[in-house]
Symmetry: C2
Subunit: 422 residues, 2 copies
């Protein structure tokens, strides 16, 4: 792949995808125990190769600093012993999950005696296009392999050496247990045309998962001719209803906004019911914790420290200690605001009124709807799915945190004894 | 819509889709009993409007004959009392199906007390682009409505008057039970630009289902920026293994090829094992029944009536009394032929060897794999799903016959009592 730039990008991707398809067939036919053994060996290899991986990462870091990457990007790029140990542990965790392959989703015997089963099988060849975080190289590879899929990994140029070192260790591990090397391929060249060829790889690549900034996701969603599993925005609302518990509202709002401001599950808009009596304390607690509030006129009337919100604020994912605040008159107004400005990711209500909560959960059209909980729980690990390949806000195939099951499809098995339709 | 041609096609489709979205929200919130009552009323309305519907169809038929449509197309277009009664009965059948909405797909209580549920919900706004058969207007509308979806219907110009009459009766029925009129909209104009606008309706339309000829499906798959549920080809193989029962092989082959040659589940290629002793009788029976056989050299050696197959024959969906025949040496050769030429639709094996059958079912990568049965069973009705919206050969979301469940997605409901991630 080193001289990919010299070749036709479509031919390069097609060649990798065909090798991946062959490897995927072998991977899918072997027993799950062998896939598990391969992942455990990959985890060991990652630990054994710590020196080489951290040295490669140090070279990426040096290049990134010289290139003036932001402190946030450098932090996402940086590996150390603890972070590498966590990456290896995540592989072991995926090895410890229950395999979805072979699960009989439905079974029926027809009046004519035909026995129908829907059985879970791998999707096939999956492409991951990602930025900065080198751990995605390993997380995505582990999930895809466990679900019987081959994967093409295209990381960002800033992490190219880290990704090569992580990929080399991972593949050495799975190959030591007889898994096919081509099941996990790294698109080594940084030629941007290769990404275009991957997005155009209909028939060669079965699904593309973009992981990274909004620009990357938007490009993939706009240009892909292959099904895409992704979310563009996490414009998540928390609606504090009139009958919300004041203390719980503060705890949830502070956690949903400030625990980590940079994750897609963070709250970006707070909807406060006009009949909620404790609004001043709620908004004050957020500002006292260092959060900038941008509110509509009624919110500003609650506390002079609240800045005016522009029209854009209601559609903005800050990923920072900034929050838009609107005062709403009851459930219908909250639902209307979320329908107008939400991104179908994660929206929550805080209330002690079970009937209102049930209506909110039923009527908000988002991948995840929550009652009396922090939106920062929108995470595959917190959902008990193990590592996640991503969070999807589309409507088809998989929604919300996507892990092993979302990396499978099914086939119909029909068993007869000579039936004809006649 | 009559003057759609005078308007910007994108604006026309966007307007219809927004109305559909509003109607879908209302449709999804009402009880399933009301949706069922609406469908039963639609069935009654179709019967009550028989005279008007058949008169409209007669005008389409006259226009079609004048335009020189093929007898096959005219037959697909033609309605009579019996066919209309069957269309109305299909609506009643959909009303009698179990609703997938609200089904709890999975439920889990996390160690922190959060209760997670995945619950089935409608997809949203679905577009159907189809040709000739007017029954699709009603079948698709019934399935979409029962699953809580709004639908935009774009039929072919040859059936425009039939579709308008069927749509008018259907909508009169559902509205009489309080279902929203805009839940089922017919794109009345035949302006082809409207189809382009539908294919480009990302964010407005959640899924597109093309129903019709290969040219239509290929165009939709190539141009759609919206998820597509479809199959392009049904190049279906039946592999008669060495250990196949001779009589069963003949019955299955004759049914799979000749019961109806024009359906996507029809067999198009017969793979005969070189070690199958009864090949001459099998191939003879097909030819004696009026089927043209095109074979490789070894097949031709079995019977001089067999014509030579060209390279294209192995990749051709005849949809006619024509069959390509190849002699293969064992399971691996059969699997290799299917992998090289199949369309991932429906492939079958005939054998008394359970181990060989299990390997075929596991290793053939098709939406439907069958053992000792005719591929003509590849049908939602035969699978017990009721009417089908289509058969999908893609890998994501739904595979094989797609009915109510394939017209749903899910959302995550998270119920807490104040949990924060901390």
């Amino acid at each position: 792949m080193a001289d990919a730039d010299l070749l036709d990008p479509s031919a390069v991707v097609a060649g990798m995808a065909r090798q991946a398809r062959k490897a995927q067939v072998l991977l899918a036919r072997m027993g799950d125990g062998q896939r598990v053994a391969g992942l455990r060996a990959a985890g060991r290899a990652l630990r054994q190769e710590e020196a080489a991986i951290l040295a490669a990462n140090a070279r990426d870091m040096a290049r990134g600093e010289a290139a003036g990457l932001s402190p946030a990007m450098l932090d996402r790029l940086r590996l150390d012993s603890a972070r590498l140990a966590a990456i290896a542990a995540a592989v072991d965790a995926v090895a410890g999950l229950k395999s979805p392959l072979g699960e009989v989703i439905s079974r029926d015997t027809r009046p004519n005696g035909l026995v129908l089963e829907r059985v879970r099988v791998p999707i096939g060849v999956i492409a991951i296009v990602y930025e900065s975080r080198p751990n995605v190289t390993v997380d995505a590879a582990a999930l895809c392999v466990r679900a019987g899929n081959a994967v093409l990994l295209r990381g960002g140029s800033e992490a190219v050496e880290s990704n090569r070192a992580l990929h080399a260790a991972f593949v050495r591990g799975i190959v030591s247990e007889g898994l096919p090397e081509d099941a996990v391929q790294l698109v080594g060249s940084q030629d941007r045309a290769l990404v275009g060829a991957m997005l155009g790889g209909a028939g060669l690549i079965d699904m593309i998962v973009p992981r990274g900034g909004k620009a990357l996701v938007a490009r993939v969603q706009a240009d892909a001719r292959v099904p895409v599993l992704a979310h563009l925005d996490g414009i998540n609302h928390t609606y504090v209803h009139a009958a919300a518990d004041p203390g719980m509202s503060r705890r949830i709002a502070l956690d949903a906004k400030l625990r980590r401001t940079g994750i897609c599950g963070a709250m970006e808009t707070l909807l406060v019911d006009a009949a909620f009596p404790d609004a001043p304390a709620l908004l004050g607690a957020l500002m006292d914790s260092g959060c900038e509030l941008r509110g509509d006129a009624r919110a500003q009337a609650i506390d002079p420290r609240i800045k005016p919100a522009s029209d854009e604020d209601w559609d903005t994912e800050y990923l920072d200690a900034v929050l838009s605040v609107a005062v709403v008159d009851g459930l219908e107004a909250a639902l209307a605001h979320i329908a107008a400005h939400g991104s179908h990711h994660t929206d929550a209500i805080v209330t002690e009124d079970a009937e209102i909560a049930a209506r909110f959960l039923a009527e908000v059209d988002s991948a995840i709807v929550m009652h009396n909980a922090s939106s920062q729980f929108a995470d595959g690990g917190e959902f008990g799915l193990g590592a996640e390949i991503g969070i999807a806000t589309g409507r088809l195939h998989a929604r919300g945190p996507v892990a092993l099951e979302g990396l499978t499809t099914y086939k119909w098995l029909v068993r007869g004894n000579g039936q004809v339709r006649g």
